[in-house]
Symmetry: C2
Subunit: 332 residues, 2 copies
């Protein structure tokens, strides 16, 4: 294993330290607890927190900022954030307006966020609501999940709910309802060409032959729907895009946002090849595209492959998708 | 080789097609000639064009937009854009205010941009100036270059000159001077942990042992300064950062912009580990950091590794770095 790291056990600490040092004016954090939060003394809003294992960057700490998340709790690589970090983050970021937890559906993450929620209720605040995100159509249950997994569709939830939370007078209950509504309208599926390698293990998480694809792979390398033979982009992108479309289902004249999400090790050029194919398929089905998002949004370390997410839009979603953000992950 | 592609010979066409379909309101192009340009009927400014082989995405076509480039000419993977594409792009995008070519220093790119410039002069316009970018401190000459290579520092040139070009009344000569001034103040160096694989060849461009690093690698896999044994991030980042600092040299109390640029296959989390190390080194030398840029800016397909660039700032550079951009590569 060759990576730009020092000791495997220091990877998350050093990554978050780099994030803080690169954004000294906007972010604060408690590195020992892997908490990152907005450094904004004027914050007066319902706070939005997400968290999960590390290794999915930029998800989630890199989305902490105006118009998106207010705090993120990172776990060790591919392991849930700790109960006490979640509790502390909620206390730090609450401004008396309550806290919304946005949690991708993995057993460990759910358990710790639920316990944190109970502990905060027991301690008398802040007021907390939780929405579970489960957009992955690939499999019903999985290694780390009962029910569907949460994957890149979560980014649409953070974006829309985060934008709404910046508006005057929005309360916790209405944000919870909005988050559930976005989750109900987003579907995703991905595939891997190559496994990821965690720093701790130092070898690939799963074995994938030089002529194989894992269809519907999970964000931690969990098995997907099927092991397929390698095939050209046109074919594999058609399989995942149609699986996504048929699931909701998305129908002719629906208006959608499209996300082509790289899994970490795939160059942006290949993601745009995939995007071109997705857009052709949608055009052929008379599904109208409002906006296309192509980048690494929710990754699995250095896994190669991508996922496709579709979000069915209404006027409010469109407005909130276009609202400005000020987050550490950016180009300029 | 497993990539999200169809036929290797169609990779660039399909990637640029995906770029256009994802940005139908803002970009236009001639796909057969691999030209991408701003779709802005009100454009009234000196036009800025860059170009080089494909495989360095988002460099350059993904930087075409308000505040940065007006057109990009892509070549085949790792091969210069054609003479006639450059000539056509200049004619399409010129608004009578002249065209500035920003060209990274590679023999093939230089030759074709120079010939295009001569041909346009012979044909009576548009008026063209060229600035060669050569920020890589790694080696003096290289496989594809006489003199120093142009690498990720080019992005700072596009950004600053692009921002300036949007200001009222700015002319071609002053932009040329500004581009040269940015180039004189930026230095870069990188290293590879893993070679890239071009779609046409289908196997790694160069051999790198499982315990080796290529220090000062070129953007096409050209040999660098030295083949080193794999070492922790702290050590390799120190070597490249100090090589960059010593070259200009950057001095205590200089104010700089920092870029940690991924080479394509390295996850963003590792780039932030590198950024944390660079920032600690600069702090130790009393070099003041204005802003830190961490992402994949100028890549080599799926190469693993990163480069570090430093730009010595003045007040005008700072203002122009912070000016808004509207380019296809983005998150939201």
């Amino acid at each position: 294993m060759k990576k730009i790291i020092n000791k495997p056990e220091d990877v998350v600490y050093e990554m978050l330290k780099g994030l803080l040092s690169s954004n000294p004016d906007k972010l604060a954090g408690i590195l020992e607890k892997r908490i990152i939060y907005r450094k904004d003394p004027y914050l007066n809003k319902v706070a939005i927190i997400s968290g999960s294992g590390s290794g999915h960057e930029p998800d989630q700490a890199f989305y902490v900022g105006k118009g998106m998340l207010d705090a993120a709790c990172a776990g060790p690589v591919f392991a849930a954030p700790t109960l006490d970090a979640i509790v502390d983050a909620a206390k730090i970021i609450d401004r008396g307006r309550g806290v919304l937890f946005l949690v991708k559906n993995y057993t460990g993450d759910r358990a710790n966020f639920e316990m944190a929620s109970e502990m905060l209720e027991f301690e008398g605040g802040p007021n907390v609501e939780t929405v579970i995100i489960n957009d992955d159509v690939a499999v019903k249950d999985s290694t780390f999940t009962a029910g569907r997994r949460g994957v890149a569709g979560a980014i649409f939830v953070y974006k829309i709910v985060g934008a709404k939370s910046e508006e005057e007078g929005v309360n916790l209950q209405s944000l919870k309802k909005l988050a559930m509504q976005v989750n109900e309208n987003v579907r995703s599926m991905g595939f891997a060409l190559k496994s990821c390698t965690t720093p701790a293990k130092g070898s690939p998480t799963f074995e994938l032959g030089s002529d194989e694809i894992e269809l519907g792979v999970g964000l931690h390398g969990e098995p997907g729907r099927q092991r397929l033979k390698y095939m050209p982009a046109n074919e594999i992108i058609k399989i995942i895009t149609e699986s996504v479309i048929e699931d909701l289902p998305f129908r002719p004249f629906d208006e959608v946002a499209v996300m082509v999400n790289g899994l970490g090790g795939t160059p942006i050029g290949e993601l745009y090849i995939a995007a071109g194919i997705v857009l052709d398929i949608l055009k052929g089905k008379n599904i109208k595209v409002f906006r296309t998002y192509v980048n690494n949004f929710c990754t699995s370390l250095d896994m190669e492959g991508c996922s496709v997410s579709l979000l069915r839009l209404n006027e409010e979603f469109k407005r909130l998708l276009c609202a400005p953000v000020d987050i550490p992950i950016r180009y300029f």
